[in-house]
């Protein structure tokens, strides 16, 4: 039968750390006491003292021991938030066909108005597509056409060229080339993908 303090790994402090990290939720002092048998159960003062030691151990680490209303819990320090938060980055979804078509038309026929795009695509262009492309900084308003309503003219950006690894728009295949391609050849995918 294992006893408290048999080894460093089973010191009261080690046990409390293990119990709090295993629980995943705050544990009251009362709840902590229940993990000990009647014979071995340390006094509330001893437990508090060990918890304080544990909190001190964490002073230099990315963790902290915190007492919240429902008890004690070990939590990630805000200092490490910039990194930890990236764990929950949302898996990217694929862009819609409509967005890709809009982007392609802007690239090939810039400067182009939304109306021009709608004319070619035969359907209206939803505002959130334009907004998404602008937020991504792939397109921008380069001016306005001098017709009633002064519609915005869109063009691509340097960030667009950089993303697709192009030094200029001339690196894009010509429309005639695109027409002749059965499917877009893999070698056109200028990005190298290393993932496995």
């Amino acid at each position: 039968m294992a006893r408290i303090g048999d080894t460093a790994r089973t010191s009261l402090k080690s046990i409390l750390e293990a119990v709090l990290l295993a629980s995943g939720e705050p544990l009251s002092l009362k709840a902590i006491e229940t993990v000990f048998t009647d014979e071995e159960r340390p006094g509330a003062n001893d437990i508090r003292k060990a918890l304080e030691e544990l909190a001190d151990d964490y002073a230099e680490r990315g963790l902290e021991l915190k007492e919240v209303s429902s008890g004690f819990r070990i939590q990630v320090r805000e200092d490490t938030n910039p990194w930890v938060a990236r764990l929950w980055e949302e898996r990217p979804q694929r862009y819609s066909r409509a967005l890709l078509e809009t982007l392609a038309l802007i690239a090939y026929r810039q400067p182009i108005t939304r109306g021009d795009i709608e004319e070619v695509r035969g359907v209206s262009v939803r505002t959130n597509i334009i907004r998404t492309l602008q937020e991504r900084e792939w397109i921008r308003v380069v001016g306005h056409r001098d017709v009633p309503g002064k519609p915005a003219l869109f063009g691509t950006t340097k960030a667009f060229l950089d993303y697709f690894n192009l030094s200029s728009l001339d690196d894009l295949p010509s429309l005639a080339e695109i027409k002749d391609m059965e499917t877009i050849e893999p070698e056109l995918e200028l990005e190298t993908t290393e993932d496995g």
């Binding site: 293990a18 990290l21 819990r73 392609a104 090939y108 400067p111 993303y163 728009l169 005639a176 877009i184």
Partner: protein
Amino acid sequence: MEPVDTQPETEENHPVQQAEMPFAIVQGQPYTQVPKDLYIPPEALEVFLEAFEGPLDLLLYLIRRQNLDILDIPIADITEQYMSYIAMLEDIQFELAAEYLVMAAILAEIKSRMLLPRPAGDDEDEDDPRAELVRRLQEYERFKQAAEDLDDLPREGRDFVVAEAFMTDRHVVQIPPEVELGDMLDALRDVLSRAELFGSHHVQMEPLSVRERMTSIIDLLRKNPYVEFQFFFTPEEGRMGVVVTFLALMELTRERVVDIIQNEPLGQLYVKSPESAAQVYE
């Protein structure tokens, strides 16, 4: 029914220890383990059989109980024990799994072959009718053992727990999706063929360098809405560059994005954005 087991009884057979979970209770009498001899109250048979994972398991049990070498099964004895189980089970009309009956048939077949006289000089191992059964028993025993080993492995939640610290403010960050250039070109081809632009005069669109130049001209005009015509031409670009710029300016004029103005005949040409600066920066 005659008990087949002749081994001396061991202490384990005797009174039930409190800590053990009975696997069967027959007429108020708990049975904590698989019986050492063959006599089982018929009422316990069903439970008894449930303790086995099938005919191979039952056979292994019979062999192990008599401490027999699996490689040297006295097929006649084992068959008899097995058959008596089956017979008892039939007596109480316990619905026998087909697998048990198949095994009984296999055993009977082996037994009959063992009884036949063997031609002299035959290699015994070569044609031992038990070989296939032994192979199956051994194979089953390996995995029976492997299952027990698996059960002994440390297990999440039972032997270890994954440590987890609380994370405040767990907001989800969105990352934009990746786009392959090929996907974009595919999309373009689709939209152009839908619009039936291929093959028409539209295919004679300006080279992309002209389009690019158009964008950069507009860009320049945003900063300075009134620029000398020559300013857009860079001699270092050579003849092609000059042509590209010229075409870009023509196209922009046609599309009414820029105006080219001349205040006096043969005077300085200016390119200006038709819109007010305020509109550009709104």
